[in-house]
């Protein structure tokens, strides 16, 4: 049977001691809600990311990268699947309700999936910059996450995302050493994706952020963001590209790179489903869900399922 806590103070002391909460524990409602919302957004983002990846299977150049995109699509959809299961187990929404909310534009997913990937250069920028930002955020959660079922799933997700990162790095180096046309294309993609990738970390964490207080994530947004700039700005510059941030400062003595002022309006627009590609993306995801209904019905009605296994 699950554990109970007499008060929020007692529960928070348990978390501060490094305690792990399991699904059958009588956790405080606010904690349950915060963890659930976090996992739901992660699940939605995996699904929306997987659908974008899928669109690029026929367009990806070369068999090797095509195979990788094919496998990455399965990875992302599979991650979404695992996360929806963990989220549904928390008892606040069923998987179907979460999907219906997503397709109706009522629930959130990461800002980067509110933009359109128009060229292969965009896909390379996503698999290099955006995946790195997402991985850094996930690692910060995994390191010390107080909700056990989520932390255990994250361990596997992170191992696979690390593999995607290596593919992204390889693609970026190929394009960086490619023709003039490829380099111009990638610079354009960098101009389009640098800021959304950086904004993925979110604004500076508030002092009273419950995600930090309840050890759901273990690092502040601004720390993760700064580390990402520190890694990618010099790397891209060394390949001959320009970072589209006129306020970027390099302290030569300390060898630190600091981003200029950040305009958070684009992030706010995406969270309100008003991003440049939000409507099309959500519409496509909803259409995909409707188009595949016959598959779910066939699965639900398969003889061994109809006998009582969960559908």
């Amino acid at each position: 049977m699950g554990r109970t806590w007499a008060s929020m103070d007692e529960f928070e002391a348990f978390l501060d001691d490094g305690g792990t909460v399991e699904v059958d524990d009588e956790m405080p409602d606010d904690y349950r809600q915060a963890v659930f919302a976090f996992i739901e957004m992660h699940a939605n983002s995996e699904l929306m990311g997987g659908l974008t990846e899928r669109d690029w299977i026929p367009r990806t150049p070369g068999l090797r990268h095509k195979m990788a995109v094919l496998a990455k699509t399965q990875d992302e959809i599979g991650h979404g699947h695992l996360l929806y299961m963990v989220a549904a187990d928390m008892g606040l929404k069923t998987r179907r309700e979460m999907l219906e909310d997503l397709f109706a534009g009522r629930s959130k997913f990461h800002n980067v999936f509110h933009y359109r990937a128009a060229t292969w250069g965009d896909q390379v920028a996503i698999s290099f910059l955006v995946d790195a930002a997402a991985l850094a955020s996930q690692q910060a959660v995994f390191k010390n996450c107080s909700y056990g079922p989520y932390r255990r799933i994250l361990k596997r997700i992170i191992a696979e995302e690390g593999f995607h990162m290596r593919m992204g790095e390889e693609r970026m180096m190929l394009i960086a050493e490619g023709t003039d046309f490829q380099q111009v294309m990638f610079q354009q993609s960098l101009n389009n994706w640098w800021w959304p990738a950086l904004q993925l970390f979110g604004p500076d964490s508030k002092p009273d952020d419950v995600l930090l207080r309840w050890h759901i994530k273990s690092e502040r947004n601004e720390v993760l963001r700064a580390r990402w700039v520190q890694k990618f700005a010099p790397m891209l510059i060394s390949y001959g590209f320009t970072i589209p941030d006129p306020g970027l400062v390099h302290d030569a003595e300390a060898d630190t790179w600091t981003a200029g002022p950040i305009d958070w309006e684009p992030l706010k627009r995406t969270l309100a489903m008003g991003g440049p590609d939000s409507a099309r993306r959500i519409g496509e995801a909803a259409a995909n869900w409707a188009d595949t209904r016959w598959v779910r019905e066939a699965m639900d009605n398969a003889p061994d399922r109809a006998a009582g296994a969960p559908a």
Binding site: E22, V23, D24, R64, M67, A68, L70, A71, K72, Q74, D75, E76, I77, G78, H79, H81, L82, M85, V86, D89, P149, R152, I153, K155, R156, I157, A159, E160, G162, F163, R166, M167, A309, P310
Partner: protein, 156 residues
């Protein structure tokens, strides 16, 4: 002057390579290493079997094995040929006990061997299949009846 590497040294080098999707699990424990041949001139041929022929990590694994083996055998290093073999076919029986333990303990991943229910790596209870495929073609998704854990199950 170069000395000819021993088969054991090459095997040990291959064993330092982890699976890209399972950090901490050696590809030798995963059963990918089939053969090592050291020719009289010092050239090395490593034969590997893929878990699935469409696995997207094959090129990356081959690169990692190449780098590890090329570092064996002194200053100039042997010439190394990494081959993906079309047979024997990889099965879950090729996983060592170490690989199975690490998967269960570190990644909550079970391995399906033979018929019957797959036990939950967390509590030992029976699991039921939720989906034939998970994030990869070599893994299914199960749910534990006892502790409700979401479990991935590796299968041939």
């Amino acid at each position: 002057m170069t000395s000819i590497p021993t088969v054991e040294a090459v095997r040990a080098a291959v064993a330092t390579v982890d699976d890209p999707e399972y950090p901490g699990i050696s590809i030798v424990d995963l059963g990918l290493l089939e053969s090592v041949e050291v020719r009289p001139d010092g050239d090395v041929v490593v034969g590997l079997v893929p878990t699935f022929s469409g696995c997207p990590a094959l090129a990356m694994i081959a690169e990692d094995v190449h780098a590890a083996v090329a570092a064996v055998g002194g200053v100039t290093g042997p010439r190394v040929d990494i081959r993906w073999l079309s047979g024997p076919v990889w099965t879950v029986e090729r996983l060592t006990g170490t690989a199975r333990r690490t998967m269960a303990e570190e990644f909550t991943v079970a391995v399906r061997i033979g018929a019957g229910p797959v036990p939950c790596p967390r509590c030992g209870g029976d699991t039921a299949e939720e989906s034939m495929f998970g994030p990869s073609r070599c893994r299914a998704v199960h749910v534990c009846h006892s502790c409700t854990e979401v479990v991935e199950v590796m299968r041939a």
